[in-house]
Symmetry: C2
Subunit: 226 residues, 2 copies
């Protein structure tokens, strides 16, 4: 057996603090997302890593500090991914659709992000208030949306009076619900959110809902259809 490996996660070399830290963070993300802050067990996190519980306290000083690190990484994840969007070259209508689509798909691909934010709200937002960089980290999305709105208004395709933060909230809300509540809603109303056709349908519906909300409404029904 090779004693040294090429730096991938599965066979990383021992005494690699960067990798250990990342390993713990990854494991903790899974555990906190699955069980929440109170439900998560530091022991369970340790078992998901190649290290021990003592190492977790060595790298992160407490369970809560680890949780804050996990939450910050989660926010960084979505905001970074959003920066990969290139909306500037799209007509406003398509830019809106792309933004909605991206958000919807991101939540679906990263339910742990949704779960972590849910957990934080369950704690009354006690921890996010102690995270220094978190507000600056999240500023980008509002700018992105404001840009699209301004351009669409110049184009004459989007109406005036839409607040960027409110649009962000609307887009988030529509995509959020079926991830955050998939277990209760799915069970009560027999909706299978794992089914690909259902997901497609929901994505299309949400894009439509948002479009109907932001489109310019003055023209005699020109844009009302579709």
């Amino acid at each position: 057996m090779a004693k040294r490996a090429t730096g991938n996660a599965a066979m990383r070399k021992p005494r690699d603090p960067e990798a250990s830290r990342a390993d713990i963070l990854r494991a903790a993300t899974g555990e906190f997302a699955a069980r929440g802050l109170d439900g998560a067990r530091v022991d369970a996190i340790a078992r998901r890593t190649r290290t021990t519980r003592a190492m977790i306290y060595y790298y992160f000083k407490s369970k809560e500090a680890l949780y804050r690190a996990v939450l910050e990484e989660a926010y960084r994840g979505i905001r970074e991914a959003e920066k990969g969007l290139d909306l500037a070259h799209l007509p406003a209508r398509e830019a809106v659709a792309e933004l909605v689509s991206f958000t919807f798909d991101y939540y679906h691909a990263h339910p742990e992000f949704v779960a972590l934010v849910v957990a934080e709200n369950q704690s009354g937002g006690r921890h996010i208030r102690r995270m220094q960089r978190i507000r600056r980290l999240n500023a980008s999305i509002v700018d992105t949306i404001a840009d699209v709105l301004a351009r669409g208004q110049r184009e004459g395709t989007l109406r005036a009076g839409v607040d960027p933060i409110e649009l962000h909230m609307t887009i988030a809300a529509l995509g959020w619900f079926e991830i955050a509540n998939r277990h209760t809603f799915g069970y009560l109303f027999k909706r299978d959110f794992a089914d690909a056709a259902t997901v497609e349908r929901d994505r299309a519906r949400i894009i439509d809902v948002v479009w109907q909300y932001v489109r310019e409404r003055g023209g005699a029904g020109a844009d009302a259809r579709r």
Copy 2:
């Protein structure tokens, strides 16, 4: 001091099993909503009542059974309240607005309902699946919405092709987000969801979003404007 009181909650008589049970249920609702299933402490629930921890195990056999009872009551609460709506005498457009408005206001007035459902989803919906009557309990809302949709289509004010469950999900999603995520979203984007003007604005926006989604779109923009 009077040894007997008139049966209200504050001064209920001792040895009143009905009242004790209700007292525990009420206290447990608060605790589970505030801290989730794992975060809730049976001791803390007991302290919120006029009884002791042992009584909780006497009336409900376990923490989880108590939690299930609380969750069922919470669902019953919103479904019962919905039955108080009288949508049949309203034109479909107003019926939709009333439905959205009601849902939005209910979530605002009963954040503990939102919190409990959030908690249940955090547990993967493990408990709701064991609740016998819960599905039947929730059937009413879909019927209500289906009725409004059918009537609106006959009136010619609502378009065809809107699925009742999907409309329910859309309405719920839009109202849900700002309650479920008020701490994170409120902090990150400096939005005060306790401010009355903000709430009014959000209610109006959500009504508009839903209306634009369900309205008949064929007529040349007749209904597109406000």
